[in-house]
């Protein structure tokens, strides 16, 4: 459910840069560029200073997950060198971790559903929360979730709640929930993120069903309803979806949290809708692989980013909802409404489902995309 991070920041800078370019519209950078070479890039490290026995932390996550000040601050405080190793997709991460048999990496941040798989594969070690002084800062709403029901393995880092954002100048009615996306006035003007489970999920929510139903007939019914959405769809894209809204390609968009944040920073007049049918959410969490070479350093890093101040810095950098109660209090008022999740809404996570149901979801999604043409 959570998508590449830092997209917002990247876009913001690129948009700013491109608007200088003689009003040629907006240049978009896009994560698909990096899809081409889903390579993990280890920064030069270790070997070059073989003389000194410097302690290292191999951090494995998406690009742009941590601001420089946090990495530098940690290195300064502990004297441990951070080796930032990157992946593009959760699946690539699990593949590499599995090849390394749970070794090579000290600390990994990834999406909830893939962590569940990693735990099942025995690639994650149990966490000793007593080693984390700031463990109490974690927002309990994000604990005890499906991927780690007893909180034995993970520390949440951020949460994503995809929301509807629209341009009130281009839409002549008030959008209140998912069902409004089907409105006939929105022909060819809706932008959607390209996550099949999330889009099928909101369709199910609009039908009063669970996002995780394993009943094939219900999934197929959702598929039929999705087909009716097809004429309204302008584009389906996972990276920088907010650009479609900003440059006038679409008037309504269903966006990941970081994209909502990026869109509003660019155009504060956009309206954000917290859908009345309920919310879907996902969690990015950190875990220590089963054979991490330096798990002590991993604990130190986890504890460091759990500190209220550091957590707030991370949250404002990545643009995801804070999963840290103490940190959330330090987030300035104006961004807080986008970075601290609303209370009192029914929330459901997209969970892994049975193979049969997964096949049905896959099929419904392919069918829907083909129908949009």
């Amino acid at each position: 459910m959570i998508k590449k991070i830092g997209v917002g920041l990247l876009t913001a800078t690129v948009l700013a840069a491109s608007s200088v370019l003689a009003g040629c519209g907006n240049i978009t950078t896009d994560g698909t560029v990096s899809n081409e070479n889903a390579e993990e890039t280890k920064e030069a490290s270790g070997d070059e200073g073989s003389g000194t026995n410097e302690e290292e932390l191999v951090l494995f996550t998406w690009d742009l997950m941590f601001p420089d000040e946090i990495i530098d601050g940690f290195e300064e405080k502990t004297g441990i060198k951070v080796v930032y190793s990157k992946f593009d997709t959760d699946e690539a991460m699990l593949q590499k971790l599995s090849t390394a048999d749970g070794g090579d990496y000290d600390l990994i941040f990834a999406d909830d559903y893939i962590i569940e798989s990693a735990i099942k594969e025995g690639l994650v070690q149990k966490l000793d929360s007593s080693k984390l002084e700031n463990y109490g800062n974690i927002d309990s709403r994000y604990q005890g979730q499906f991927y780690d029901p007893e909180d034995e393995y993970t520390v949440p880092f951020g949460a994503g709640i995809p929301l509807i954002v629209y341009d009130p100048e281009l839409v002549d009615f008030e959008i209140k929930g998912y069902a409004d996306l089907w409105n006939e006035n929105l022909t060819d003007s809706v932008a959607l993120v390209a996550n099949g489970r999330v889009i099928t999920g909101i369709t199910l929510l609009s039908m009063g069903e669970s996002m995780n139903t394993e009943d094939v007939a219900t999934i197929e019914a959702a598929g039929e309803k999705l087909q009716e959405l097809a004429p309204n769809v302008r584009l389906i894209q996972d990276d920088n979806t907010q650009n479609a809204l900003l440059n006038g390609e679409a008037s309504v968009a269903f966006l990941y949290t970081s994209q909502v944040y990026a869109a509003l920073q660019e155009n504060p007049d956009l309206k954000v809708v917290v859908p009345e049918e309920g919310l879907g959410f996902g969690v990015i969490a950190g875990f220590i692989p089963s054979k991490a070479p330096n798990s002590e350093a991993a604990y130190q890093f986890l504890d460091y980013i759990l500190e209220a101040e550091n957590s707030a810095a991370c949250t404002q950098y990545v643009g995801y909802y804070s999963t840290n109660t103490a940190g959330a209090e330090l987030i300035p008022e104006e961004s807080a409404q986008l970075l601290v999740a609303p209370e009192g809404k029914s929330m459901e996570m997209v969970e892994n489902v049975s193979q049969e149901a997964n096949d049905a979801y896959n099929k419904v999604w392919t069918e829907f995309k083909a129908a949009c043409d």
């Binding site: 699946e91 060819d188 440059n247 949009c372």
Partner: protein, 289 residues
Amino acid sequence: MLGTQQKKHGGKLWLAVAPLYIFTLLFVAGPLIYMVILSFQTRAEGFGVINEFTLDNYKKILDPVYLGTFVQSLKLAVISTVIITIIGYPFGYFMAKCSPKWKRRLMMLLMIPFWTSALIRLYGWMILLQAKGAIYQTFHFFGIDIAPLKILYSYPAVVIGMVYALVPFMILAVYSSAEKMDWSLVEAARDLGASPAKAFVTVTLKLTMPGLLSGVILTFVPSMGLFFIADILGGNKIVLVGNLIQDQLTRGADWPFAAALAVVLMVMTSFLIFLYRRVTHTTELEGIL
């Protein structure tokens, strides 16, 4: 004396060629074999595959939803190839008739775009085609009021991207064929009373046919696989086999199915190349290989 020399020479040659063979075996044949094996394996619950023989992955392709992606890919490839031929053939033909100076210049113009990543160039198209992109801005600059464009994220946008990405291959193939042509044959046909059109059809077209056909192969085959164009310019609404494979490798989490799709796609394109060889009786693609 001669025999031993040859033998000696042959032995050394083998050493020089061996790395290439080993490289090819490891990095070309290896992954292909792995892919074929994977396509017969069973997907594990959750993550990974189980080493259990199954044909289900291939059966799944017969599902109309997935079969449709093959139809969609073929359709797009045919449309693109036809347009590319219409643009590329005359271009290559007239380029061959230019003076050497202009040949060099035109060749340069064809080559320059290749210095930049294809992806970056497609983003250029995005900027042009955007609702209020460069084309729209240009119209407004000259005081012509047009509605925001709705080209991006549509079928025509994908076709534009395909044609743009592949047209140089057609031009180069036709050019190399036309350049080698003996123009005196055309002159002879004209002298013997053929109209320009007839001379073209009976002489020029026939002689440049190998170039045209290899151009068709060089555009048709890759256009079956250029899924990222449908992704970027089509807003993911045109589902090609490539897009489906990508989906299955990521969140779809069904690698064996992805492998089966890739195998079928590969067989299809290999068949086209086979057909090309049968028709033209050549083993090489004119001009390029």
